[in-house]
Point group: D2
Chain length 305, copies 4
């Protein structure tokens, strides 16, 4: 496998040139565009790495999966889905359309920004700092990496330019989806997006999902299996922005991408995959990353369908 990882990285270097860095978060344009890294974590704990697997990038939308798990654990399925829907939406990740046109007004799923902000607003805690601490602890536990921290520059950059997310949040406050302090909820959201990771961290999250929420090391169940199933299903139906359908057909495994260039993928019962490649296509997905995971899926027949 180690060998194939090297080959995949070499084969897909050429795609880097075709993508771009996301200009709407100024700090992200400082990323190393040509970075390309891949980590795989098997359920027996064995880890494989290749390329820039030590390159640090912010987790961005991949965090939506983990925050969803925490909200499900804290508040339960019924509450979570009273506020956020379960359906894919063909609209861009930052769209407000359906909030206005579909009744009752409720974000369609937790993978689009509106839904993710609503989920972040559910995390319990006295202060937004307390909520972020708890969230960070949960991330550290799942990745078995006590050093995970927030990239302050990226956080501040997103907070400064996050007016579209602010618009989504205030709209949801108006219609009762968010019933708490909007700026505090946004703060949690901006911070969770700015958590800095490597492909190893991401692959470990993938393995944790593949292992149905059971810690690989300790064997302890950290998250209910049903909640893990929910997360994997959302990853499969709407994890890759509005290229999710195409990805499901061509790759066929639950995955979630972020505009930091990361892709989290999970092969149920088999492995977790972490990828980084900051150069994005026009949907917001790592352009080389998608090709790499496609190659992996074909080689090892990972598709679940």
């Amino acid at each position: 496998m180690q060998e194939f990882i090297q080959k995949i990285i070499a084969d897909n270097k050429k795609y880097i040139e075709k993508g771009t860095l996301p200009a709407y978060i100024p700090e992200l344009t400082k990323a190393k565009k040509e970075a390309l890294g891949l980590s795989i974590v098997m359920l027996d704990g064995k880890e494989y790495h290749g390329g820039d697997h030590r390159y640090k990038f912010t987790i961005q939308s991949i965090s939506k999966v983990i925050t969803l798990l925490l909200a499900l654990e804290e508040k339960g399925e019924e509450y979570v889905f009273s506020k956020v829907g379960m359906e894919p939406t063909g609209d861009p990740f930052n769209s407000m359309l359906k909030l206005e046109t579909v009744r009752p007004s409720k974000p369609f799923n937790p993978m689009i920004n509106a839904g993710a902000i609503a989920i972040s607003s559910m995390i319990e805690g006295r202060s937004s700092m307390g909520k972020v601490e708890k969230l960070l602890a949960f991330f550290r536990q799942i990745t078995d990496n006590p050093d995970l921290t927030i990239n302050e520059n990226v956080y501040l950059s997103e907070k400064r330019t996050g007016d579209r997310n602010r618009a989504l949040a205030y709209f949801m406050k108006d219609v009762g989806v968010i019933d708490k302090d909007v700026e505090g909820s946004l703060d949690v959201y901006f911070k969770q997006c700015a958590i800095e990771v490597t492909t190893q961290d991401i692959a470990r999250i993938g393995a944790f999902l593949a292992n149905d929420g059971i810690d690989l090391k300790t064997g302890k169940t950290l998250v209910h299996k049903k909640h893990i199933k929910i997360a994997k299903t959302f990853m499969f139906t709407c994890g890759m922005y509005n290229a999710s359908g195409e990805f499901a057909i061509n790759v066929g495994i639950p995955a979630k991408s972020g505009v930091g260039g990361g892709i989290l993928a999970t092969v149920p019962g088999k492995m977790g995959i972490g990828i980084v490649g900051p150069s994005l296509d026009d949907k917001g997905n790592s352009i080389a990353g998608i090709q790499m995971i496609r190659d992996l899926s074909e080689k090892y027949k990972l598709s679940i369908l």
Copy 2:
């Protein structure tokens, strides 16, 4: 005319029952639902009043007309219309749809909330308090009423519950329509909406517009004639929320309503009309007020078409 005013008020009392007070601004539900008042100001300065013409109500969306005039005077036509369009929109006054779906993203006109907030953000001044002071001075000059003030309770109520307007404002910040402090701009907007008036004040604004921007008392031109024309045209094409087309056909004079129950109307070269009736129809227009102005228009053949 005095007599006909009494008759109109008596005739239309029956409509009050059919309408409601706007629940989304809690403070407005304290209004006197059965109030009904009418004032007419002729261009020679003669004034006629009937019913609850001393009843105080907040000006709400009627303020959009005057703020537009001030912005046009301060920034000029070219600047104003680089940020806000000139077209009616068939959408509700608080809609965000077209901001997302039409390129370039720009509120369609200054009579919908998005456009009005953009206009308020243009008013020049060091602080939002300074801007409000200037705006208030302008209102006082046009109404010849130095006692006009802001109803603090209504202002605070709108500020507290104004999350939909906040969503509109942050969206516009994101797309560059608003380039200043959003909360400050909203503060100006919430305050202008909470200016407390009587039908006399409103009728005087109507007479000022009917007189092409020339002060009735002093004969001094306060606003460019072209700017007055622009305001009257917007009132005609989109002054009555999304019942503007119906109103244009059935009444046929430029008018602007507010959810405080007021209606401002202007008959070019003839008179200004101020109406109050806080009980609203489902579009947000005074239900008895619309009937009263329709009766007036038919009796005195005021329609411009």
Copy 3:
């Protein structure tokens, strides 16, 4: 006036280059792009002409005004507006959006294609040929031109490529706005759009509207005054596609344009104006024509506001 007409035509020749002919109706691309004509008919019957006033073009959307009048006369206001609304819409003339998103589903006004097709479907008659004959007779009466006929090539071209209009019509059949034979209704619509006119014909229609529905020659009332008022109001609020608001501000008179390059305008109590200039702007309005009518309006202070 004759002199000023010449000057206007000369002054605005330059705009022709900036526009285009409408490619979606192949036959219309055969029009003489550089034609520019203007006719004015005063209410005393005096007529002024300039430029290519003998140039023949198809009436296209301008026909919507006359068909609306006939439908109002035949079916009455109540019936007509039970099927078609009175509100401007900020959407393109061929949009289906609001039919799907706004309840009850009903075209917003008779000037957009959906509304105009619904109006055409109301014209009474045993066959679509009979309806078209009646419509043509009505056009001939108003223009005092017994020679008006349909341009068969344009009619067939529109029929052949009119799938978007077909989509609108079938959607309206589905929701009950159209309760008759769809293809027959479309046939009436395509034929009314293909009536061939000169600026003289158009100016006479404008004078007829300006004269409140009274035949200039015979003094006989052909159309109820209220129906004329309705037509003029729609022209003012939504006659120039989605540049109607801008036109209302800059020109200020009721007008209706067609993609054949014609513009019909009416100055209440004063005159009718007919313009042709087949080169269109991106909204579908004659690019030089709009400038010509703007010059006319400024010179003779024709704006109604």
Copy 4:
């Protein structure tokens, strides 16, 4: 298993009362509302049946899966997806919104009506009758049921009231998605929807998909494995109208429902499931059918995630 099938049917009888028959296709309201049937076909050919498994119903939208397979076989992936997308859409199955608002204009996937009609228009053949014959032969082969035919009454009922589908088709003709005769394409579509089946037929289709396109009896590959994978993925992401996301989470197997009350489901490598229950929920899915398949999935742990 036979026993559990009986139990499931008994347990879910109660849901029948809560649903309704689809009024927009008059002929479908004649269905036996209380019918409830279930068939399961294992990959070794073993079949289990329960309840009204001999009840005949029209296949409706379930046919979209099979027509897609035929189109993929005839025209190839590249051509098919040049005309129809791969993405779920949060809109109702008969929506036109995205055709107008998203560029390039192309139905989002083959499971919504617009996409399915586009797919039907691709089937090759000299006449629409020839295409339908070919399609029917394909259905008969997959179900191993040479007696499958079209319910003429349902076909004619849908043809007569199918104006919304007609609107979709003409819109797609206008934008170039459909390049052939619209009425002919609709005829194929209406007929494929009116094919009459039992749960046994449906379960056999499910087994064929579960067996990767290999005929259970003959062992011959009838459809490319990649095409089967595409169909299964669409079933998983958008097979249950706009309750697909919820179904994916709660049931977790690829499925497709039709307004005739049928549900097709496939458990990769294991079995095919056919269900009928004509009483529908507000999304258009069999209300008892969904519960039955949920029970099955839980009992036998069929979820793929």
